[in-house]
Point group: C2
Chain length 246, copies 2
């Protein structure tokens, strides 16, 4: 295999969203800078999962690669949402030190293409070869590396926008899920409360949400029916809409 060369000015960053403990969470990676001589830790903080692209690789492939290396998952929802290229995006003090420590040129302008991904948190192994990854609830994200706070904000905006008009909420759940779980996903992502009966009526009209002959198990109450999403049916029945909001 020919060794591939990394491009040093185009990178991708993935905002990996998961739904857990009734919250929307983001998968972040620890970044620790250790002083070479004293061996003391200078700082520890968190970054998005990201990497530079290979010269012969598309940005989509690079994003899938990052996602796979980090989570072991394939075939998950991934979408490009915005480019980040501010001239000062890597210019904070910590970030310059980090880049220098990493043998990189802190003055080289690096553009990063932001992707967001939705995964079912049940699937994921957080332990991986490349550093410790953690699920952090959106509400508890502190100051991240580089411009990653901004990237997360924009990803959330993109997610909210998209989930309102396309059926992607399912991607945050296991293949089989209950309607209450689905409703919770929408409530958490959109930050609104929804009426149970009305939500279910709406769902009822969507032919691509397939009720299964299967129920929840091991719950201390009436077990809920399980559903799954059929992309096939969705593609065949979707209509174009025309709103332009109030």
């Amino acid at each position: 295999m020919i060794p591939r060369t990394l491009n040093d000015y185009i990178s991708v960053d993935c905002v990996i969203f998961g739904y857990n403990d009734n919250e929307l969470q983001v998968l972040l990676v620890e970044r620790t800078l250790t002083n070479e001589s004293t061996k003391e830790i200078e700082f520890t903080d968190l970054t998005l999962t990201g990497n530079h692209i290979y010269e012969d690789e598309t940005i989509e492939d690079a994003a899938y690669r990052v996602l796979f290396d980090r989570t072991g998952l394939d075939n998950v929802y991934l979408e490009q949402f915005k480019a980040f290229a501010h001239p000062d995006r890597l210019k904070k003090d910590k970030d310059r030190k980090w880049l220098i420590h990493d043998g990189r040129d802190p003055d080289k302008r690096i553009i990063s293409i932001g992707f967001f991904s939705l995964i079912s948190t049940r699937d994921i192994i957080v332990e991986s070869k490349c550093g410790i990854a953690k699920w952090i609830p959106l509400s508890e994200i502190g100051e991240l590396a580089f411009d990653h706070n901004q990237i997360v904000d924009e990803a959330l905006k993109a997610l909210r926008n998209k989930i309102k008009h396309e059926p992607i909420g399912f991607e945050l759940l296991p293949e089989k899920f209950t309607l209450t779980e689905l409703q919770n996903v929408y409530e958490v992502v959109l930050g609104t409360e929804l009426d149970k009966r009305n939500f279910r009526k709406k769902i009822g009209r969507m032919k691509y949400l397939i009720p299964l002959d299967e129920k929840q198990k091991g719950v201390a109450h009436k077990p809920a029916r399980l559903y799954m999403f059929s992309r096939d049916v969705y593609e065949k029945t979707k209509k174009e809409m025309f709103d332009f909001t109030v």
Copy 2:
């Protein structure tokens, strides 16, 4: 003034949409490659308006700059919609020749950030210092330079998507417009027919479309009332919606 240096691997391309002759059009620029020695024209084709960014410039500023240099317009609708970075995007034969002729490295990987812009075609001066720009109806676009056909396609998708949920159709019209003009814009962009009475009923509910005490002039029929869009009222009255399509 300090001479600014151009970054040689990040560029922006603007898909400038205009509405004219009842069609959606794109502003394109002629590209002609002349053989240095024989002075013969090797080929002529069309490109989007675009340019590399300056090292101290944001991509948004670069896009506004391109737009201004080309149209003389300021304060127009402009939106980043996608990054284009395929490794082969500049590798067609014509494109390599062009880059070489232009003194650039045809093997350098260049990423381009796509923006789309909506302008009222009445405003624009197509003549400008940097080459001849032309309005080309979407339906008549042939093979463009680089990956610009793909960029146009994606821009159109982004526009259609956005115009369905946000009030941006007005941007393609003069400040004061009639309801029939507005309906035509929506019909042309979305490629559907709309019912006049239902369209006007819907409009009636949108408080941000302000009817003026002014009418069309110089038309050979009953003159229509003019309207204008109030972004103020829009921002104050907009509601968030929750659909997730059939």
